[in-house]
Amino acid sequence: MNKKLLAVIRREYLQQVRTKGFWIATALIPTIGLGIIFIQVLLARSMVAKGRIGVVDMTARLYEPLVAEYQKEGDRDPDEEKEKTVAPESAKKPTLPTKMEFFKVDATPETLAEVRKKLNLDVQKERIKAYLVLEAKTLENGVAEWRAESVKADMVMREKVAGLLSRAATKERLKDRGVDPEIYEKARLRITVDPHEAKEIETETSKDAGFNLAVSGVFFFLIYISIFIYGAYIMRGVMEEKNNRIVEVLVSSVRPIDLMLGKIIGIGFVGLTQYAIWGALAVLASLPGVVAMLGMAEGMPPIPALTIVAFIVFFLLGYFLYAAIYAALAAPFNNEQEAQQLLMIPTMLLVLASTTWFFAFNQPNGPMAVVLSFFPLTSPLLMFMRISVQPPPAWQIALSVAMLAASVWGMAWLAGRIYRVGILMYGKKPTIPEIFRWVRQAD
């Protein structure tokens, strides 16, 4: 490998790694990530169904059974109790405590309007949380009316109440048909569908699947965010050399293409260093001793090797592709403002690519996912996601990588031609036709 290129790589790498910004980002990104998870856990805990609920029961048969159902279960869901006895190995779902209080509101079809008025006021003044109106037909059509401050809020509470009402109503309807509700209680069974791979030796159990998907999601996000961050580094670096007027000193010693590649490779190593630090921290955090100390019930299952390999390959290729684009777009301009319009193009493509994870997630072999996992500007993200959800045939992976690598090569060539002319252009903002002319210029 040529020594000058190595010197450029070394300089780029050390300059970035020595900045405070690098270490702050390295510490901050996982902190923010964990912070978000922590906040979500807190939020989930705070989603307790809580409050007084008025019940306008015009069936005259549901209020007491509803209260009875609620008291009987306390804050336990009998469905889940049963689930546990049937499938004890299935992951434990956290049950949400509820603190609801029902009270009966008398009304007749004639007084209903009056009663509503009063209850509406109670809701608005926050004296009660909500009220239910059970019309006489409720036991036939299964529709109850929920009135609260917002139609959208309190989803958890509404679900809970719906569950209680359904059981109460079912028992009433069984009584009408002469069946003892106790039989229903005993006969009820909830079946969970436990996914397995159709192979003799299973590599992934359903217990690990959730974790693996979460890991893939995190990696997917990391590829996306790092291309963004390091792409911006490239852009700023190119413009810095141009604005410091150092670039002409450099190109008298180093070929412009080496200067560009050195910058891209050096900053790529910065990215890998950051991942290595995070990886080491993650390994440390999953050591049995540490796990016990942090009070986690069980350590993390190992991340599949294929996922890690795919992550590194697709991060590097995707990064190189976008880095070359950013270098080419930064070189002709004097500052970020001038480059802004053109920079929108790779940025939008990247954002679009990031929104397509759903295709790979839901239907990894669907036409949309397959096409997007070949298209070089989206394949780093999409093929990675497909591999981690359901590895596609080897030829597809090979083709995707080959197309991506070819695009990286082509883009680097194109970027190099724009770069070598652009970095020496000062003053007037060049037009797009001018930039194309640079590409066609002979060596």
Binding site: Q15, I246, E248, V249, S252, S253
Partner: protein, 262 residues
């Protein structure tokens, strides 16, 4: 005769409809100090950039030390462009070592070579500072050291004196004189004729993309003796530069530090 340090044959460069350099023939013999003179916009910088292979000529051929530009050849040339600068956030020593490395000099050799220069230029205490913390004058010294750290055989400087403070002008002149003593070739462009007159063995005058005059300075002066008015004889008087140096010396004050300059 030995190979010329630089030779250009029929070199032309156009930017769109504008011809920046027009069929230029130029030969710089080895070991001379050569001045390219002419007003701004005459084509001096374009010529130098083509010699450095930063731009390609549309026509003609350029050779340096008998070779077409290549990686190895780059390492034998020191180049100080008109548009020059340093990495602002980089430490002075890292910066100098980087310049050495991209000229193919390994770090230990570069450090050994830099030692005496750093001492004589009072740069040693600043090695671990970031470039942006240095005064302008100090930065100019770093820039110049970066140009010669690989001990080049040919030095090409584009308007080297523009923007230099008086101390550094003297420093640079001394350096160039030393280079000449070592038999190295120095080529520099300038629009200040006085400098060219004092320092150069040979000059070329470029005006409106064309070479109008070329040759040893002394011969040129002899040839034009009868055709231009001669200056009136004047009493010898000291040069301002010499006075400046003396005054500074006798004041007993040390050179200002960067903090003071800020």
């Amino acid at each position: 005769m030995s190979t010329p340090a630089i030779s250009l044959a029929g070199v032309t460069k156009r930017f769109g409809k504008f011809t920046a350099v027009d069929r230029l023939d130029l030969e710089v013999p080895a070991g001379v100090t050569f001045g390219i003179i002419g007003p701004n916009g005459a084509g001096k910088t374009t010529t130098i950039r083509m010699v450095m292979n930063i731009m390609k000529p549309d026509e003609g051929e350029i050779r340096v030390l008998g070779e077409k530009m290549n990686d190895r050849l780059q390492e034998r040339i020191g180049y100080l462009p008109e548009e020059r600068g340093l990495y602002r956030k980089m430490k002075v020593i890292d910066q100098l070592l980087f310049f050495a490395e991209i000229k193919g000099v390994d770090r230990p050799t570069a450090l050994k070579r830099l030692g005496p220069w750093l001492e004589s230029m009072d740069l040693s205490p600043w090695l671990q500072k970031k470039t942006e913390e240095l005064s302008k004058g100090m930065q100019q010294k770093v820039q110049f050291l970066g140009t010669i750290v690989h001990d080049p055989e040919v030095l090409i400087l584009d308007e080297p004196f523009s923007g230099l403070d008086p101390m550094n002008v003297i420093l640079l002149k001394d350096f160039l004189a030393e280079f000449k003593r070592q038999g190295k070739t120095v080529v520099f462009s300038t629009h200040v004729l006085e400098q060219a007159e004092k320092m150069c063995d040979r000059i070329a005058l470029i005006y409106r993309s064309k070479k109008l005059l070329d040759g040893p300075l002394r011969e040129i002066k002899r040839a034009w003796r009868d055709r231009v008015p001669l200056p009136l004889p004047v009493e010898p008087e000291p040069e301002l530069e010499a006075i400046f140096v003396k005054v500074v010396e006798e004041s007993g004050l040390s050179a200002p530090s960067a903090e003071e300059l800020k």
